[in-house]
């Protein structure tokens, strides 16, 4: 590749042609501040609207300052990143942004993790001339089941728009209006709830300010915990243990499974269980459904829907209900692990401990904002009593732990309670893209071939590429597997299914880039994809540490079927563990 030489702050560097000044400077250890710019390198995600102009520098031969995040290096260029002119320009940009920004940092839900706050601090902004006169509040608040939009805090970086449109291809939100009324909003500035939003939360996970945040359910959970009439059961999703530590200053990728369990017990949960148990259960149901459809299909049964699509991601479910309702018979009918857990907790387990379901509160800790919406869906409740009462994010749990004065880093590791806390490595890897289908294949292989799986890790299913595929050898039967993470990638595979071109037997879809480890409820990555990769590695480490790594070998799953469900796919299993999907596509109504 052609390289070019340039000078930045008196240091020379060679970079490939096409490199931006910002990236070249980073190579030199010069950290030019950026605000609107954001990159998740390993996922091919980049936001580069060159809108905020915080990143400007002086460039030889140019009269005006250049936004370095969007300006390419040229041979012989001389760049200066901290001249008085540059520093002044940065300050002016900040003054402009802050002039109509609310100043309620103390009580803002993003306080402490806000990139705008950090930037003001970093640039040494101590006062904003005339700020006290500025009128700020112009937008109404919008609360949906998962997400709160407070657009007075929007700085128009347009990261959310890029996520929703380019990465997710949902297009629920877009830049609207101009001037001071410019913001990012759904069509007609209606509420998110009335848009095509899937609640994937990816807009929230990239918003640098308090404009987009999650609905906070910690107060409700706290109330349940102090209510003596309630038995409060908690389940923790696989991806949480690989990220929670970040909120307490631990290095990304630090597993905190045992400390998290201890913290939850300290918070007062009566039973600390694991969604991984329900993930194992999902594999039993989904795996059985896969083998069932597959054997029908191989016998030439045209009604057998192949490929089968995974259904454990509620953001993805919302997506296909809106955009591919014609294919709603294709995904597995298995509920998500969150909902399977709730259904079993409020039947099997409630009976076991002699508690009425109305007196049991099931809380889930999730890396996900779509789960907040999911647990409120009508079909997941019995006589108005939801299977899962509250879903709180990894971030909310971290805040809850801090509020409760728990020094999590110094807690001793504890184990999950039995029986709904017992799981295999297959349940853990649900947190990563490719993990659900790998877990399914570990079980399906043994059930289909009747042989022992020698190589447990299907490494060919792993990685960060947006769309991946692999062919597994099921004892002579070549099984074609497709994987997509990010809804835009899912759309590509779905279009092939719709047109009959798909060659896959099974497809795994996760709405969030990276899978649940990159979920909308996780600690903020601030555009550093190394963090997401470290979480992925931690998940695989946890899997390797488990004595059992195949769902069908989980003795408590076996017992659950023996004592309660019968066998996978039984009528009772169907009633409790499966669901159906709805056509939610907007209809154009025509006046007669």
């Amino acid at each position: 590749m052609e390289t070019i030489k340039l000078t930045i702050d008196n240091k020379e560097i060679d970079v490939p042609r096409g490199t931006t000044i910002y990236k070249a400077a980073r190579e030199l250890g010069i950290d030019i501040p950026t605000l609107c710019y954001m990159e998740l390198h390993d996922m091919n995600i980049e936001n580069k609207p060159a809108g905020c102009r915080i990143c400007v520098a002086e460039v030889s031969g140019r009269r005006t300052l250049a936004p370095t995040c969007a300006t390419k290096c040229e041979p012989g260029m001389v760049v200066k990143t901290h001249t008085p002119r540059v520093l002044n320009a940065r300050r002016t940009v900040m003054e402009f942004i802050l002039s109509n920004h609310p100043k309620d940092c103390l009580v803002c839900s993003k306080s402490g993790t806000c990139e705008l706050q950090d930037m003001a601090h970093r640039l040494g902004i101590k006062d904003i001339p005339g700020a006290e006169y500025a009128a700020v509040s112009t937008f109404r608040m919008d609360t949906s089941p998962s997400i709160i939009r407070n657009l007075d805090k929007c700085i128009m970086c347009r990261r959310c728009e890029m996520m929703c449109n380019d990465v997710q291809t949902v297009g629920a939100i877009s830049a609207v209006n101009r001037g001071f009324m410019a913001t990012v909003a759904p069509a007609f500035e209606q509420n998110l709830e009335h848009s095509t939003c899937t609640y994937c939360g990816q807009c929230v996970s990239v918003c640098p300010t308090g404009a987009l945040t999650e609905v906070n359910h910690v107060p409700q959970v706290l109330r349940a915990l102090v209510d003596p009439t309630k038995t409060v059961v908690v389940q923790t999703a696989p991806a949480v243990r690989a990220a929670l530590g970040e909120e307490f200053g631990l290095a990304p990728g630090t597993l905190v499974t045992g400390k998290m369990t201890a913290a939850l017990r300290t918070l007062g949960f009566d039973y600390v269980f694991d969604t991984d148990f329900a993930a194992d259960l999902t594999i039993m149901e989904e795996g059985t459904e896969l083998l069932d459809r597959l054997s029908k299909y191989l016998k030439g049964d045209k009604t057998a829907k192949i490929p089968i699509l995974t259904s454990c991601c509620p953001g993805w479910v919302n997506f296909f209900e809106e955009y591919f309702p014609d294919l709603k018979d294709v995904p597995s009918t298995a509920k998500s692990p969150q909902q399977m857990f709730g259904a079993i907790a409020k039947t099997y387990f409630a009976d076991k401990i002699g508690v009425n379901r109305k007196d049991m509160v099931v809380v889930s800790i999730m890396p996900c904002l779509a789960k907040k919406y999911e647990c409120q869906r009508d079909e997941f409740s019995v006589d108005g009593n939801p299977d899962v009462d509250f879903s709180i994010s990894t971030r909310e749990l971290a805040s809850f732990i801090k509020q409760a004065n728990i020094d999590i880093k110094n807690l001793h590791d504890e184990e999950f309670d039995s029986p709904l806390g017992e799981s295999t490595g297959a349940g853990v890897i649900f947190g990563n893209t490719g993990g659900v289908i790998e877990a399914a294949c570990r079980t399906a292989y043994e059930l289909y071939t009747g042989k022992k799986l020698e190589r447990i890790e299907f490494t060919e299913l792993r990685g960060m590429e947006g769309v991946r595929s692999a062919t597994l050898d099921f004892d002579g039967l070549p099984l074609n597997i497709g994987i997509a993470h990010g809804l835009g990638n899912a759309r590509k595979l779905l279009n092939d299914v719709r047109s009959g071109k798909s060659q896959f037997h099974a497809i795994e879809v996760m709405a969030c880039p990276g899978g649940c480890i990159g979920g909308g409820g996780q600690p903020l990555h601030h555009g550093n994809s190394e963090i997401i990769k470290a979480r992925a590695a931690a998940i695989y480490t946890e899997d390797r540490k488990k004595p059992l790594r195949k769902s069908h070998e989980n003795p408590f799953i076996i017992k659950l079927y023996d004592e309660f469900l019968g066998k996978p796919g039984s009528e009772k299993a169907h009633h409790l563990l499966h669901t159906h999907y709805f056509d939610k596509k907007k209809k154009i109504m025509i006046k007669k």
Partner: protein
């Protein structure tokens, strides 16, 4: 999750779909499609944008974004007598804004709105090429030159 109720007549839907297909259902042609629709309907209500979204296969949020970005698109119906005040440089320096304020006061509406009886609507324009007559006001097809705030009442009287 979408609960917008669209109630257009079938021929309206066909018209919009027709416009989209004239432009090859190409999202790049959005501005042209919207222009043609606005010429036909006089404005671009949400329902029309929804059908355009369907026709061009692009998110309606994006379409709304474009409609709200360009001042020549409007989501409110034009009155029977649309009033446009030129705010080009020549008209502006000769006091067009005061004239505009007078229209707002007399009609009790803002720019982009119509009177409740739908008789008048108010909009602003960039230079209409009649700078010699500045400030310039258009009511429907009729042009008024050298308009002063005091003239506003008389102009409106012509239409009652």
């Amino acid at each position: 999750m979408s609960h917008i109720k669209i109630e257009l007549r079938k021929e309206d839907v066909d018209f919009i779909k027709g416009v989209c297909s004239t432009f090859n259902n190409d999202p790049q042609e959005l501005i042209n499609v919207l222009h043609t629709c606005q010429e036909h309907f006089g404005y671009l209500p949400a329902e029309v944008q929804e059908v355009v979204s369907d026709g061009l296969n692009m998110p309606v949020a994006k379409i709304y974004g474009v409609v709200t970005f360009y001042s020549f698109f409007t989501m409110t119906p034009k009155g029977k007598h649309p009033i446009s005040i030129c705010l080009g440089t020549a008209c502006y320096v000769r006091g067009a804004e005061k004239v505009l304020d007078e229209f707002k006061k007399e009609l009790a509406i803002q720019v982009g709105e119509s009177t409740p009886d739908n008789k008048f609507s108010l909009s602003t324009l960039r230079c209409v090429g009649a700078c010699g007559l500045a400030p310039v006001v258009l009511v429907g097809d009729k042009t008024y030159g050298r308009v002063a705030p005091d003239d506003v009442k008389n102009i409106l009287k012509e239409y009652v």
